[in-house]
């Protein structure tokens, strides 16, 4: 009966993936505190013991979920930027930010990455993760724009964080009150104005 004979690495990867997928769905739907480990493991078709073998605790699983979400976000932003075909640094910056804004409008992303992650993981850990993904990308774009002399030179890191804060808040607002095209346009215009405000004046 070795039909399901698998290597250890495959077994681990399978259960980890099942847990991350189930966790992502449930955390995104109900929030971290409202989802029990038994609910996750049940949804993943895995025992609680398996979960505690793969992850040190519930928080650790949540962290893996956050990484998963961030990974997807970077992919979506990158593809939006490359699809746009722009070469100008400022254009890329705007396209990237709007793609971020768009993705961050989804309930799952909001609940996990914007609301729960800071509280559950703490600001330091949370920012460390985002730096390796989305914010890292943003910093790169900003550096490129600065190097090209298209934005006023200034410290990149705080600038990037401030932009992120503005974008996240805008996304949360859109998700609640920006369902009308007009409201959404309003928010976008605010963001564009903010970014263009960084550009060096002609």
């Amino acid at each position: 009966m070795n039909a399901d004979r698998r290597t250890q690495a495959e077994r681990s990867a399978a259960t980890r993936q099942a847990l991350i997928t189930a966790g992502r769905r449930l955390f995104g739907e109900l929030g971290y505190a409202e989802v029990s480990t038994v609910a996750i493991t049940h949804a993943a078709g895995v025992s609680r013991g398996a979960m505690y073998h793969q992850f040190t605790d519930k928080r650790d699983l949540f962290e893996a979920v956050v990484e998963d979400v961030e990974h997807d976000l970077v992919g979506r932003i990158s593809s939006a930027v490359s699809k746009s075909g722009f070469t100008d640094p400022i254009d890329n910056l705007v396209v990237g930010c709007l793609a971020w804004l768009d993705a961050s409008t989804e309930p799952e992303v909001q609940r996990i990455a914007l609301l729960d992650a800071p509280a559950v993981l703490g600001w330091d850990r949370w920012r460390e993760i985002e730096l390796r993904h989305t914010i890292g990308r943003l910093e790169a774009s900003l550096s490129a724009a600065a190097k090209a002399g298209r934005i006023r030179t200034q410290p990149i890191r705080p600038l990037a964080l401030v932009i992120v804060g503005a974008l996240d808040e805008a996304a949360l607002y859109i998700a609640r009150f920006g369902r009308t095209p007009e409201e959404e346009r309003n928010v976008r215009s605010v963001i564009e104005q903010l970014i263009s405000g960084l550009a060096t004046e002609a």
Copy 2:
């Protein structure tokens, strides 16, 4: 033995205040999830039964704590603005924002108002509270500046939220990495640039 004979309203107010004070200290120090109701009631010198009589649940007590923090914040911001003695709308805007930034640097404010509140209360409730306090003040300042023609006219609400997002993120950054005067200057310059970017060009 009616030395401590008090009216019902006084009794309620006393226990509510004791719980809010103790809760604020503990929540601010350890975070919402790490503080048990028994820890709070013990610190407040009150039974758990009393707490559940005054508040519907732990979340409700936390909400009262958030209101308390917000109330203080508005007071501090207002006093900073009035002390500055400026009359120009833009000046007041900048002073107010920097006062906000300053206050939001404290660990207690960060943990309660910036990290836990959104996750525990949910974005809608959280923003509703802030609208009645700090953000409400900011919107008033922005409206005044817009009316005086000192900033480009644009929808106030999303603009205010975006500024708040930027400020909060800046405060969190300062608290971690901005302990050197130079870093702090960097962040402030980013914020000032952001706000001045809103001003109508001369």
